[in-house]
Symmetry: C2
Subunit: 813 residues, 2 copies
Amino acid sequence: MKNNQFAIVPTDSETAIAELTKIHFITPDMDALTTVPAVYQALLAKSLPEVHTASGLTHKFNNIMATSQHTLSEWLADATIVNNQVFYNVGLQLLGFLPGQDFELADPLLAMRDIHLPMVGDSAFDREALYYAWYLLLNTRGNNGQTLIESLTTRGYFVPFYQLPNDQKPLFFNGKAQAVFDTNALIRDVVYVEAPLDTDHDGQRDLLKVEILRPAETETGLKVPVLYTASPYNQGINDQAGDAQMHNVDVPLTAKEPDENTYADVEFQPTTAQLPAARTATTTTDTAEETFSREKSYTLNDYFLARGFAVVYAAGIGSIDSDGLAPTGDVDETTSTVAIIEWLTGKRQAFTNRDGNIAIKAWWCNGAVAMTGRSYLGTLATAAATTGVAGLKTIISEAAISSWYDYYRDNGLVVAPDTFQGEDTDVLAAEVFSRSLKAGDAHQIQPAFDQKLAELTADQDRASGNYNRFWDERNYLKNVDKIKADIIMVHGLNDWNVKPRNVANLWDKLQAVPVTKKLILHQGQHIYINNLQSLDFTDMMNLWLSHKLYGLDNHAETLLPNVLVQDNTQAQTWHGYDNWWQDTTDALDFKVQYKELVPADHTVDQRAAHFTDKLPDKLFDHYKHHLDSWQRDLLQEDKLNPLYDHRLLFKSWQAPEDQLLVGIPHVAGSVAVNKNFGMLSFMLIDFGAARRLTVSPQILAAKALDLGYHWREDDLKDFKLAGETPFKMITKGHLNLQNRHHPWHAEAIQPNVFYDFSVDLQPLFHHLLKGHQLGLVIYATDMKMTIRGNQDLQYSLNLNDIRLHVPMKKITD
Amino acid sequence: MKNNQFAIVPTDSETAIAELTKIHFITPDMDALTTVPAVYQALLAKSLPEVHTASGLTHKFNNIMATSQHTLSEWLADATIVNNQVFYNVGLQLLGFLPGQDFELADPLLAMRDIHLPMVGDSAFDREALYYAWYLLLNTRGNNGQTLIESLTTRGYFVPFYQLPNDQKPLFFNGKAQAVFDTNALIRDVVYVEAPLDTDHDGQRDLLKVEILRPAETETGLKVPVLYTASPYNQGINDQAGDAQMHNVDVPLTAKEPDENTYADVEFQPTTAQLPAARTATTTTDTAEETFSREKSYTLNDYFLARGFAVVYAAGIGSIDSDGLAPTGDVDETTSTVAIIEWLTGKRQAFTNRDGNIAIKAWWCNGAVAMTGRSYLGTLATAAATTGVAGLKTIISEAAISSWYDYYRDNGLVVAPDTFQGEDTDVLAAEVFSRSLKAGDAHQIQPAFDQKLAELTADQDRASGNYNRFWDERNYLKNVDKIKADIIMVHGLNDWNVKPRNVANLWDKLQAVPVTKKLILHQGQHIYINNLQSLDFTDMMNLWLSHKLYGLDNHAETLLPNVLVQDNTQAQTWHGYDNWWQDTTDALDFKVQYKELVPADHTVDQRAAHFTDKLPDKLFDHYKHHLDSWQRDLLQEDKLNPLYDHRLLFKSWQAPEDQLLVGIPHVAGSVAVNKNFGMLSFMLIDFGAARRLTVSPQILAAKALDLGYHWREDDLKDFKLAGETPFKMITKGHLNLQNRHHPWHAEAIQPNVFYDFSVDLQPLFHHLLKGHQLGLVIYATDMKMTIRGNQDLQYSLNLNDIRLHVPMKKITD
């Protein structure tokens, strides 16, 4: 294991001792202990909450080696001093590392350094130094991806603290809220928030079901902040309705009617609809009348439920037990999302039931809200943030969409999220319209939804693929300047579902906005990262939310790197950066020569190269059902490879040194096609035999992470290096040749005439190893993402014109 | 979904009403209700524990359709009678089925039949009939794989029952214990049982750590039975030590020294070692002094913790916090396993800590014990049962080994469990010797263990592969006649880790033993089956254990089929049988003709066929790393297939009708090899294009099964039909040519001389579809299982001599 830990708050010795006293590691009875080893023994005893007797402790101490020859019991019997060798030998074992395998008892300090564990320099400890070392050890992460204090938490250390009076809660230790709240006592309420919407046009404002989990302490006056996850999936999804809506992608590309559109022609202008009057409450109560047994939860939220935060889930308009209709990503959906925050902060009303007479306030809330969640959930957090709604202090948006056009389209082409060929906004809307799962409700609402769905299908306009008013409404980037919430973005560099452009554009736009923003880029696909062994993501979020929602002064803003990136060349390695590509001046610039990428200043003179898009029917059919084999063949250099004549592949010389490819690669050139329409697709490839990280973290230990004490559990995972592979696709891009200048503007093209093109690929943060080669593949149909007509389209590219630009950072460390 | 439900106890109307009253569905206030619809409404209201107000109920009723035109609310407003159309329309929705997708509101009875849900015949219900129908509905399984009463349990229905006095606990409903025990209040104790062993020869009897979870009600006098899982993995495993012990399998086969062994020469005779005196307790207590936070649990055990059963885990000798050394599968390991049962039943002492002075009894135990668990865990349950230990009422042994020779060897050959090439008893011993994970303990014990490990490595004798005294000690089949516990066996027909012979031999031997035995054969590999959507395995086990451990008279023995088998040709289909092959008289008998399997009465005259075992180095190396590709090529008929000349393949004509291949296929023939040693391997193949079940169940809904209320959760899974495949391996077998008569007796063979052989393959229960063909493959090296010397061995088989015999049952339904 290599530890990557950012959330340790630098703490002076005096504070450390005060904090140890607060969590009862230092107790008054220890004043009577006269030697440092005796104090050490007392600390060790408290770290074993399972046993309470001398015999039990002795046995546990027998299990631990203090030196290469003596057990901890033996050593304690004779010890006169505590040195750092013994301290870290024992410490490493407390952290779950095994002598002989993970470290050598002869040199624990070497292992502390190798595993990147923090330590103090003293070779022998006085009492104060021992306390300080112990404090640091409690805050050090072990082999199971938890700090020692977290590990003790899961073993019941904080159970006696459940009884603390409210004025001592929450309890912070090293700047992070601790699990001193009894999750068995959580209160679960359902309320119905009245949104300023009537999306189902029934003459009544839409009521939105909200599921609340809050600590029992709120009943006796504790005010707590809220982690709010807006998840359209949370009340259930109608897979069958989504499947029925799925689009056939084996359809031909066709010529678009040329237009004279400018952005102004497609700009969305919000309209203000007539809104029914708000309901009038006949009475008010503090007590909900409906509850629930099990919400669909995010484990990060579960973790915070043990630590003094309430968690709120809402599925929004169109979901079970709520009103309304939700056409994916529209303004109403954002309004519905924000309405919950407005209720939490006292600016909107909610009711105990759907008859709407008994009002209930979020009287238990301290007015500070964060939003969490991944994918559609993170998207709605982003959407809410772009309204600037008051009370939303921060969002942690993971794998979030920043513009729905960037999710379902690309440069005038229909481009599906990976593994979801044929999906579109209407498919997603049908899937999350969970009111359809309640037959009684569906009986009356389904016709209205079906009509809305038909509008959605028409407006998303798969036929053209153009950016239009519909997509402009669903572009949150337009409102980034309104963001007031501080923001943490998390995204996978291998996320081909929500492609990296989504986070890159948001990050770039945020540079000009006066909020704190942090970015974490991992090597996963479309995943959560709160259960990795090697990164203290959860602790970072604890630091962040303790600061943002409880106002704790814990240096969260400076401790978290601005941009934290997982290295793609080795396991468990993360680096902090100031920015992504915004401060980059270097670049790699290539032109092509025959089948090579060569420096842009080379002189080349050559003819056009050609490829045909159409595949033999049988091969096409095979690839349809074996997309990975299509992708593998596409990148293979072997002339016998069946795709050899169906794409152009250019390879650079070997990289003379390690390089960081950062930001937005750009490809330009000129192309002719034998019809009056066409598309190009592009991939950048890292060629070079290497063991590469799996794109999904592997389970290291199932259910190994208790998120509190006898509370919900998560699997411990991490990315591992897989077997050697010859290459890896590192980014891609797509272009409809009729949209060479704007996604909203379709131009005519003539058959067999060369046209210039210029296209941004999806952004990169890629470590190219010395000796590896960069590859550029130019092709047309993307079996995984574009429509696939398998048409007789023949493309010619003027090799003299092709340019590839890749921003680059030198690797300095 | 198709429901396969066996654990519904036939119940008369009077009893049903009494049981409904006991669980408060029928309450005295309902006497005042004058109409059947009013009674129905009251029952419905009680099935919605989340809401308590009229408004809340109305909304929930609005969500349900009673007829194709009216919601339940609307219908209730006017209803004068309750007919079965409305009852099952509503019932299906309560069970999670969706109108329009899973059934039609116009004909719910059709769906009830199609999904195999039980129903009552009445077209209109009087009050008594309504109660009976409701009772049956509560016991009917829904779309989430839970009965309605289970679904209500997970939504808090039984929370008020936590307060019932002990004399009303456990609470049985329809013959099964219900979740009326608060899992938040479970008591967790650690005790140390003193085993009649001194396996580490330290002059003291081995103490064994036991983790106990028991209901809080035991503190106030309730005596409960125990589900005991003996799991050597439960205190942790030392992967690295296991890996270090792993054997290289790329070694040549060699000639064995011929011997004159009979079984008597290798028979294991137990010896009685001198045993240190038992410890003398200085005092006795009822209170444990050590606890634990999270055991490694089996979800089936977790389920029973909510229902009035205690659960006990012990990792046995050689595990963390226990004494001793455990050489895989030996007699001491069985003694260690049984010692826990002896303590639970008052016949052996335990202590609160390892100093051994304070004795503690299992005073909370009613004396009835069951053992549970899969693989090694199920193996130890089998081992314990073969001692006939008193108090062990039943075992549920899943994927259990019945003889370790059948796990690591076959007919004189080293044959690895699938996916564990190179593993052997010493590898497993090193892995589960978890004392090595506690450095202090390892410091003193590791040398003794290393010596034991060296003995194990020698005694298991990979060099010969013969059955010897070592393996005879590890053959539980020898003691089947001592079994007194009733037994449920569960095994995967695609389990190539613990191969089906293990369960088949046990089942066969048990036929003569006067205990109740049940067998469940599923289509999975090495898995648990307690979370399948389509089979009520958990309910069956509840029925079984309520009967066996609480003595409830619930017809468990007759309701559970003797042999329950999952069909391999369609999803979610299970059939009951009286036996496996024991009552079978039919068979398919083949000889071969060129490349065909033909009826055994055909006249054939042909020469020998040959194959060479050696592969080109590069191909061999490729297959080593791509075992599935080896297996695919082996079965492919294509002449270009690289394995074409490295095996013989014979195919039958198309099956004229569906056939059940059951029991033990047998291959005989004569073979010559060009050396004085050799091996043969065999596979039977089902040839025929078909969609076949995946061998691992797929997740249908993550964490969807709460095992109690706010308790631990399991994923809902089931097997699904995957894409079409041309063939499937259905069984295999292996033979060292020097062990043609006995695994314990090595005979000399001469190069190029023909020898008769005769070998049993692993047993089958396979549904061969009409039109499919049976295939027999004869080859030598099994890349997945045997040693792989890639030697220049050439095999000749006299085609005239080859015979294949497959027992068969006619399909009658």
